[in-house]
């Protein structure tokens, strides 16, 4: 009997550990600069807007819009063989940063640019929850 291999598990880089610790508690938290007050993603230890190293991880709204998206038809990894066709989207949060993610709760044919979405958490295991998004109100 063939078995679908497990999907890749995120392996947090040192600078993104707080992101994944928050996600485990089903909170979306991003680095925010204490000097210029802007958020950024993916996490790094200097603000890409002003190069300040003075930052903290803060919770964000979890709301945003689909900036763009693609639909995978080809199976690049056997772990996703059962998933195709599936959507990978770039979501722009209300706070500004853009995140790569999946869109859940909607057929791939219904996803549109500018569609309002909100974060949901997909528990990979007891250590890792993966932020994903769904259309607002679904």
């Amino acid at each position: 009997m063939s078995q679908t291999p497990a999907k890749p598990k995120p392996r947090p880089a040192p600078e993104s550990l707080p992101y994944w610790q928050a996600a485990k508690e089903h909170r979306l938290a991003l680095p925010r600069c204490e000097d210029c007050e802007k958020f950024w993603h993916p996490p790094s230890r200097t603000c890409p807007h002003c190069l300040s190293a003075n930052f903290t991880f803060r919770d964000v709204s979890g709301r945003g819009k689909v900036f763009s998206f693609v639909t995978f038809h080809r199976v690049y990894r056997p772990a996703f063989a059962e998933e195709v066709p599936y959507v990978v989207a770039l979501v722009e949060l209300e706070e500004g940063p853009r995140l790569l993610t999946n869109i859940l709760g909607v057929s791939h044919e219904e996803v549109r640019c500018e569609m309002p979405v909100e974060v949901v958490f997909d528990d990979y295991d007891e250590d890792i929850s993966i932020p994903k998004f769904r259309p607002v109100g679904r």
Partner: protein, 397 residues
């Protein structure tokens, strides 16, 4: 302007020329390596120029990303101690950068005759047998990105570029028919090129019937996996006059890198071709209206469409109607990728675009392949993580 308060590039206009060019065998070349193919292309280019390897004192060559210090390995096989030698790593933007760097090196006396080239053996690496294909798909997780991609099933350059295509379609009403016309036009050009990898005609119906890879891209939106190498030989315009071929002048070049990221700002719909092109036009003293043929980096159909806009051949957002007019066809308003491009000739990370630009400027082709009365060619290179760009403008002496 720069710290010296001058615009140095203008001084470099027409100071150097491409005096030899050639390719290796293209397409599926089992039993060779990228280094074999690189040396094959260089040997052919030296023959074309009427030069010997011992005339070369500069090597700016690049190979597959895992080939360390490719230029050293190439020079070793050429039997050359090079005064000036390096490998650039801006992906598909590297090859034009190499030509630009060659001009600067020659201008400042660091070398006299520089070979620029790129080689890859991608078909052999991915298609030679089933074992190779499976190894690529089951690459250990430790070799993937750690986070923010693989967990979402996000892989590969096709998806990255497809994000731009979706956004462009959303903003401007661009359609897959527009992308399809690019694939069909370049295939039609490839059928006129006996060296091209693709030999079968492609209709717009075939395009739409092709299987989807990462929508909106289907199989015919994607460039080929090829074994291929190309080379050009650059020297001073003064020295070029004494050589075998009519010199093709390097009139302008420019680079720009949207290194804030492909996903940042509007970079996926307004590429670095905009600033790279403006710099190249300024150096050449020319504009889009002066370009007789364009050889555009066509890793994916959409990338051609957006670059045509960014280079000013039409307005932003009007790339779809522009290509639908038949402009890109031989005989059209802007014959583009006249050897078939990476979509249908062979994918050599932009190197074959340079080779074809040189050949068009030499007027060597029979009537059905030659852009009539072509005096100026624009060539583009795009790569890295979708953000690096370089532009080259060539002209007849």
């Amino acid at each position: 302007m720069n710290a010296f308060n001058i615009e140095p590039s203008r001084e470099l206009r027409d100071t150097c020329a491409i005096v030899g060019t050639a390719t290796s065998r293209l397409g599926k070349v089992p039993g060779t390596s990228s280094l074999d193919l690189m040396v094959e292309a260089i040997r052919n280019a030296l023959d074309d120029a009427g030069l010997k390897a011992s005339d070369v004192d500069g090597v700016l060559c690049r190979g597959p990303d895992d080939s360390y210090s490719h230029h050293q390995l190439v020079a070793e096989r050429l039997g050359v101690n090079a005064r000036f030698s390096t490998t650039l790593t801006n992906g598909g933007a590297s090859q034009i950068m190499s030509v630009a760097l060659a001009v600067m090196a020659i201008r400042f006396g660091m070398a006299n005759t520089i070979v620029c080239g790129f080689a890859r053996d991608t078909w052999s690496r991915t298609h030679a047998n089933e074992e190779v294909r499976v190894r690529n798909e089951t690459r250990p997780e430790a070799m993937l990105a750690r986070e923010f991609g693989p967990e979402y099933g996000y892989y590969g350059a096709t998806a990255a570029h497809a994000f731009g295509a979706t956004r462009h379609m959303h903003l401007y009403g661009t359609t897959r028919d527009h992308f399809g016309e690019i694939a069909v036009a370049f295939r039609e050009h490839a059928l006129r090129n006996p060296d091209a990898q693709m030999k079968k005609p492609l209709t717009i119906e075939d395009y739409h019937a092709g299987r989807l890879i990462v929508a909106p891209f289907g199989i015919y939106d994607c460039s080929l996996r090829s074994d291929a190498a190309g080379a050009v030989i650059v020297t001073s315009a003064a020295r070029a006059k004494d050589l075998r071929q009519p010199p093709v002048l390097i009139k302008g070049f420019g680079t720009h890198n949207n290194t804030r990221g492909w996903f940042a700002d509007d970079n996926m719909v307004v590429t670095a071709a905009k600033q790279a092109g403006e710099a190249a036009y300024r150096m050449a003293g020319l504009g889009p209206q002066d370009i007789d043929t364009a050889q555009i980096y066509d890793c994916f159909t959409y990338m051609v469409l957006t670059q045509l806009e960014d280079y000013g051949f039409c307005k932003k957002g009007e790339g779809g109607p522009f290509v639908a007019s038949g402009a890109l066809r031989l005989g059209g308003a802007l014959p583009c990728n006249t050897s078939g491009g990476q979509l249908s000739e062979s994918h050599c990370e932009g190197m074959l675009q340079i080779v074809e630009g040189v050949r068009q400027m030499r007027h060597i082709y029979p009537e059905h392949r030659q852009v009539r009365d072509a005096e100026v060619a624009l060539i583009s290179g795009h790569g890295g993580n979708q953000v690096c760009h370089s532009t080259l403008i060539l002209g007849r002496a």
